[in-house]
Amino acid sequence: MGRYVLRRLAQAVVVLWAAYTLSFLILDLLPGDPVTAMASAGMDGGTVDPAELAAIRAQYGYDDPMPVRYLTHLGDALTGDLGNSVATGRPVVQTLADALPSTLQLTAAALALAAVLGGGLALAATYSRRRWLRQLLLSLPGLGVSVPTFWVGLMLVQFLSFRLQWFPAFGNEGASSLVLPAVALAIPTGALVAQVLAKSMLTTLDEPYVQTARAKGAGRARIHLSHALRNASLPALTVVGLLAGQLLANSVVIETVFSRDGLGRVTAAAVGSQDLPLVQGVVVLGAFVFVLVNLVVDLVYPLLDRRIAVAGVRRSLA
């Protein structure tokens, strides 16, 4: 078990480093010029003195050759310094840390909702004996993954805020402002969870041990909930892990829809003003969240299925 954990931790660190490097390369090698962007951001279309440009370049280290810059920045990143935002001059880490709590709140609420809705839908569909009901329930997720998230958000605002006035349309005060964005965000994720869980429930229910349980006289509910669900939930858990990054990314769009403060606004503004350090910070943060959630998922696996930890150790020894 210890070996398993260590192995997963090492992988996580490598992936993070690689994500940092990749985002550095993307933002560095492609033809956007950060210094010109910076200069024009401060000057509003006025001409920029070349000497001044050179000074700014030197100040931010953009006149160093690329490998030197990369190593300097990587060294800073290792000590938790992702540079300063070009637009505001504040440290990137600080900016992200300020924006994150509100976004995490939204993402967590959406994730919980997606798990409950998606899981409930899958269980209801596989539990149902009526063919038409099962078909209906199983076709809902396909709809859920096809609608644009931001459009669902806007439609919710339209009907539940403007027409019925049940929930506030904008801002992030109080729990009631969290409801609509969380629902909009939960729909695509919940739909995927439902698809995967329903599929694996159906395969699991065909397993011999389910037949054994049935032969021993266990009730339908008991078989579904306590025998099949535990084993069938592993693929769904994997999907939740893989979806974590997507959920965070979608929340950027949803925050824009609902004008909520958070990572979304920071990201949209950063891309808008070509704020390279901040954009890179967001990318790295995305990878960090993805890696972290998947680390947690990897550590939960063995609790659900003891065989995985053993197999993991064996693989690492081989």
Partner: protein, 300 residues
């Protein structure tokens, strides 16, 4: 989003190519297949309509998408204006129809970029093997660990705004899924007996690759490409909703939805209609992809 949704589907054992069917009976089989699936037919018709709208918008509407009648602003959907009119009196249906060209172009560019770059990476990784494969697949793993939207946003930051830039950014963000599926297929085909036979009868590596490996490993990648069309429509419209797509007067689907945002209270159709069109398109593409992915082969 793509990779997660798609990988298990596309990695499934390749659908048996319906070569067993006698060629003469094929049309009848197709008719029977379609008659039993009215939803699939509807999906096909819808996608066809979108494609036609992209190439010949004049067939659907004679109204100008960019110039409106100020007197008719905020007309609710009706016989004269199917989707209503916007704040400048422009016909929304005309804007959606003309927007199809922009959105379809972006989608096709995105999928082509992902298909070509990802396919090549996967092909090289699977065919060459060794450290090349390791290196490529590690990069692909990293691409998978960065949320697609963030990756696209990083590219948009570097490339600038515009339909093509957004399309390329979306395409590169979905390279990883293609590389994975392509590599898995090449690995599967490479060990097949006929490939070994080709090698041992003295065929050059490029002819083995071109005549045996590539044609036999392309199927699942093409299914993935179909699914990716749907994802790309959504991704492109998200980015143009955020305002990184074509500049304002252009009627891109995503920007149409975001344009209606300010009039949610008095003109619901400005957001609802373009959104419905996007949703219906994505749903149709997904339905067709599902039919291609095994449903056709499974139906006898």
């Amino acid at each position: 989003m793509t990779d997660i949704l798609v990988t298990p589907v596309a990695l499934a054992p390749p659908a048996a190519v319906p070569q067993t069917a006698v060629p003469v009976r094929r049309p009848r089989r197709l008719v029977r297949f379609l008659v039993r699936r009215p939803g699939l037919v509807l999906a096909g018709v819808l996608v066809l309509l979108v494609v036609v709208a992209a190439f010949a918008p004049g067939l659907f509407t004679g109204q100008d998408p960019l110039v409106g009648e100020p007197v008719e602003k905020f007309t609710a959907p009706g016989a004269a204006h199917w989707f209503g009119t916007d704040e400048l009196g422009r016909d929304l249906f005309a804007r959606v129809v003309h927007g199809a060209a922009l959105s379809l172009k972006a989608t096709l560019i995105a999928v082509s970029v992902a298909f070509v770059v990802g396919g090549l990476l996967g092909l090289v990784a699977g065919f060459v093997g060794g450290w090349v494969e390791d290196a490529i697949m590690r990069v692909v793993d990293v691409l998978l660990s960065i949320p697609a939207l963030f990756l696209s946003l990083a590219f948009v930051t570097a490339l600038g705004y515009g339909t093509i830039e957004v399309a390329v950014a979306v395409g590169i963000a979905s390279v990883a899924a293609f590389a994975r599926v392509m590599r898995a297929e090449v690995l599967r085909v490479r060990t097949a007996v006929f490939v070994e036979a080709a090698h041992s009868s003295g065929a050059r590596w490029y002819s083995v690759l071109g005549r045996h490996v590539l044609p036999n490993s392309l199927g699942p990648v093409l299914v993935l490409a179909t699914l990716e069309l749907a994802t790309a429509v959504l991704a492109v419209s998200s980015l143009s909703f955020l305002g990184f797509g074509a500049p304002p007067p252009a009627p891109e689907w995503g920007s149409l939805i975001s344009g209606g945002r300010n009039y949610l209270g008095n003109a619901w159709w400005l957001t609802a209609m373009p959104g419905l069109v996007v949703a219906a398109t994505v749903l149709s593409i997904n339905r067709i992809a599902r039919a291609l992915d095994g449903e056709w082969a499974a139906a006898r």
